[in-house]
Point group: C2
Amino acid sequence: MALRVYDPRPAEADSPTYGAVRTDLIAAARCPVVILAVPVSRLSDVVAAIAPHLRPGTLVVDVGSVKMMPVAIMRAGLPAGVDILGTHPLFGPQSAVGGIVGLKIAVCAVSGRRGRRAAAFLRTVLRLKVIVTTPEAHDREAAAVQGLTHLIARVLVAMEPLPTHMTTRSFSLHMQAVDMVRHDAPEVFEAIERSNPFAAEVRQRFFTLAAQIEADLAREDHSAAIARPSLMKAGTNAGA
Amino acid sequence: MALRVYDPRPAEADSPTYGAVRTDLIAAARCPVVILAVPVSRLSDVVAAIAPHLRPGTLVVDVGSVKMMPVAIMRAGLPAGVDILGTHPLFGPQSAVGGIVGLKIAVCAVSGRRGRRAAAFLRTVLRLKVIVTTPEAHDREAAAVQGLTHLIARVLVAMEPLPTHMTTRSFSLHMQAVDMVRHDAPEVFEAIERSNPFAAEVRQRFFTLAAQIEADLAREDHSAAIARPSLMKAGTNAGA
C-alpha cells in the first residue's frame, strides 16, 4: 500500500521520505487509513479540514502525547462511519535509534473492526508492546511519566553547565534521561504539560513535596545547631 | 597486611567480615593506615577519640560524601606528623555490584608521601579512576551531582506509587537513578544536603527555575485561551 504524506511545509531537499509520496490534503484524507501526526494544538483545525473528504470506513489514527483531548476532538469532529484509534507511541527518535521492536505504544478508543485490526498490526507486524487503555487512564499515567520526565529535564537543562567529570552513576542516569527529551519539539512539552488535564496536579505535588523536604532540612539544621554546637562551628569554619 | 575493624555496634552473626578482624578503638588507631568510615556528623568525635592513640607517620583517610568539613575537622583535630587523605568514592553498593574497577573516586588534601602513595594504590591496584581535586572544588561539583540526584530521588520516592507499566525509556532511566540511592543510609542524605556548604544554593536554583517554568506554563495557558477559544473549549470538554 502506498504511503502518501501531506505536509503544509515545503519539502526540504535533504529530508528523508521513507518511501512516502507527497500529496495534497484532500488526496491524503481519501486514503483508507489517515494518521494525524500533528501537534495537539493543531488537531482541531486539521480534523475540521479533513472531515468533508474522509470516505466511509476510513480509520483515523492520532499519535499525540495526550489522549483525552485528541480523542474528544476526533469524536466530535469526524463524521459517523469513520473508525477512530487514539495512539501514543511511548518512544521518540532517541529511544527508537536501534529500531522499534519491543517498544511500547498505548492505544485507546479502539472503535470498530479497523481499530482492532490496527492494534493487532502494531503488535504482530511492528512487534510493539501494545498497551490497551482508556484516554483518561492514559492521561493519568502520562501526567506522572511524561510530566515529571519533561519537568525535571527542563529544570536540569536550565541549570547547565552541570558537572560532567566528577559524576556518579545515578547522576549520569538522570542526565541520560534528560538527553532523550532535550531535543523534543516545544509542542511535545506543551502537549504534555498543558493539554494533559492531570499534569498541573502532578507538578503541584512535586513542588509541594520538594518544599516539604526543604523545610525539613531547614528545621533539622536548626535542631542540629542546638544539639551539636561544636560540630556546627567546625562546619562554619570549613565553609568559610 | 591485616585488616582490623573497630565498630561500636556489636557484630551481627550474619554480617560479612571481608577477612577483617574486629578490634577495639585504640588498637585500630595504632594501625599504619586508619580509614574513618563514619557519618560526617560523627567525624569530629571520632577524630578526638583516636587522636591520642595515632602513631607518627600514620595515614588517616576519610570517605565522606563532602570534603570541606571533614578535611577541616581532620586538619584541626589530628596531631602533627599524621598524613591526611580526603577521599570520596563516587559509588555505592548499588553501582559497585559488578566490582569497582573503572569506578570513580575523588581524592583531595593529599598531604605527605603516604597520601600520594595511597592515591597511586587506588589507581594502579584497585584500578579506580582517581580524580584529584580540592575540598572546595569537590563540594561545589558534589552539590550539583549528589545534591540534585538525592533531591530528585526524595521527591519521586515520596510521590510513589508511580506508574511502572506505561513508561517511557526516559522515565525508566530516572527511576533507575532513584533506585541507586533509595536505600542509602539517612546520614548520606544529611551529609550531602546539610554538610555541603553549596547544597542549599543548588536546591534554591532548582526551585527557582522550576517555579519559573510553572509561571511560564500558567501565562501561556492564559494567552492560548485568548488566541484559540475553540480549541480551549474542546479541551475543557475533554477534561470534564
